[in-house]
């Protein structure tokens, strides 16, 4: 029960309260670039959600098994070369960023090939966005958030398992989709407005984004209230 509450709160938090775009400012480039039409925004959003889920899965696995201090696979490999005591303290944390970015890039490549070959309709709807998301900060940000809940956590009970990591990956993507689709809806209407010349394009998008961020600030504090209600605590 406590576990389910945790998953639920991580999901709500990632999708609405601490929205990736409007609270953490990651994925701003597509938020401004690909938010002209609702259907394009939806395609981008689903591509990001899809890749984010896969990336978080890969990064959680690599971090837990290989990268974190004393990770089982690294220790096992190192024990062939050095004494078991020396192998037990192996720490590959410094490689995290390099490994993550290459894991994400190759995952995107494989997903693109796979989807193009086996699911042409799906590829048509969001495949064109796939190469764009390799350098999307939202994906790397999700992986880094998962990392911060695995490496350097003092309390063993607070280390994230795969379920929590996936909840963040899926609902982080959902939050991105929500933000970009709302934005696209507003911009479709804005096209009919008479916007002063200096504000046209990115400037007005940012200001609308600011108003959206204000609206999303209304969700702040919902998670602490929900946790109190769901766990029955004071």
């Amino acid at each position: 029960m406590a576990y389910l509450v945790d998953i639920f709160l991580i999901s709500i938090s990632a999708a609405l309260i601490n929205n990736f775009v409007l609270y953490y400012f990651v994925g701003i480039c597509p938020f401004i670039g690909v938010s002209r039409q609702v259907d394009m925004a939806l395609g981008m959003g689903s591509a990001v959600t899809f890749v984010m889920t896969i990336a978080v899965f890969i990064c959680w696995t690599i971090t837990t098994l290989v990268l974190q201090p004393g990770a089982p696979v690294s220790v096992w490999i190192a024990s062939f070369f050095v004494s078991p005591e020396a192998a037990a303290v192996i720490d590959l944390t410094i490689l995290t960023y390099i490994v993550y970015i290459f894991a994400i890039a190759s995952a995107v490549q494989f997903v693109e090939m796979y989807v193009r070959k086996f699911y042409p309709p799906l590829y048509k709807s969001f495949g064109v966005f796939l190469p764009l998301i390799t350098t999307n900060c939202a994906i790397l940000f999700a992986c880094l958030t998962v990392m911060s809940h695995i490496i350097g956590v003092e309390n063993p009970g607070e280390v994230w398992d795969l379920g929590r990591a996936l909840a963040l990956g899926i609902f982080g993507g959902v939050g991105f989709t929500i933000a970009i689709v709302i934005m696209a809806g507003i911009r479709e209407e804005l096209d009919l407005c008479d916007i002063p010349a200096p504000f046209q394009g990115a400037a007005i998008t940012l200001i609308v984004g600011g108003i959206l961020a204000m609206a999303f600030m209304g969700f702040t504090g919902v998670d602490s209230g929900l946790r109190a209600v769901l766990t029955g605590g004071p």
Binding site: A2, I94, N155, G157, S224, G225
Partner: protein, 228 residues
């Protein structure tokens, strides 16, 4: 003639450009070079980073146990202060919690405990250090390690005046939060415009106090073995 000959023999650069091995060689060489650079950084800096991380907590502990003035006195005194990090299993059967805590020993005697605890705040997680006296009867101090509450409102929980209210509170009964009721024995004064932040901190403190009230004994305290 010499010019023509020069063009016949491929230069090493050209050879590298034209073969697969040459391309792989470049990426591989860069990887080895960068790997060495990272290893050097890791060897030189990791100890310092780890020390930074621990000092952040350790430097606050004397103040939490003795208060700022006395802590300064003790620091300049001759008797050694020993801080032993450890963990504690607490809480009731269904949901046991592991607490990170520090046992503070001064001149050979137990001077107090400092517990590190976190919980959901208004915006994100709040991390606290809570000082408790040796008999586990009263709080000796509170420090906010980490918070992302609203600037200007919620982040007033870090102000010494507000934190000071927790000092001397009995661990016997849960603390409550009330607005504009300073002077009342059990209630913590809610910060205007940040009732939720005030309540979150109090809730974390209450949870820790409930957990440790019965079980903070020497035999349940397990020191962490630090690798050198």
């Amino acid at each position: 003639m010499a010019h023509a000959l020069k063009q016949k023999i491929p230069s090493p650069g050209r050879w590298l450009r034209d073969t697969n091995l040459g391309q792989a060689w470049l990426v591989l060489a860069l990887a080895i070079l960068f790997g060495a650079a990272l290893a050097a950084v890791q060897v030189n800096l990791s100890r310092r980073i780890e020390a930074n991380r621990q000092n952040e907590t350790l430097s606050k502990i004397p103040e939490l146990v003795w208060g700022p003035a006395r802590a300064r006195e003790i620091k300049s005194g001759s008797a050694a202060v020993q801080i032993i990090p450890g963990t504690l299993q607490a809480g009731s059967g269904a949901n046991p919690i592991t607490l990170n805590l520090f046992k503070v020993i001064h001149a050979g005697q137990l001077a107090g405990w400092v517990i590190k605890a976190g919980g959901q705040g208004y915006a994100e997680k709040i991390d606290l250090l809570i000082g408790i006296d040796p008999q586990v009867s009263a709080l000796t101090g509170l420090f906010v390690l980490d918070q992302k509450e609203t600037p200007g409102l919620g982040n007033k929980i870090t102000a010494p005046g507000w934190r000071g209210q927790f000092k001397g509170r009995s661990t016997g009964r849960p603390l409550t939060v009330a607005a504009g009721l300073s002077g009342s024995e059990a209630a913590i004064d809610a910060i205007t415009g940040a009732t939720i932040s005030s309540r979150s901190v109090t809730r974390i403190v209450n949870r820790v106090m409930a957990a440790v009230k019965d079980s903070l004994e020497v035999d349940t305290f397990r020191p962490i073995e630090r690798r050198s």
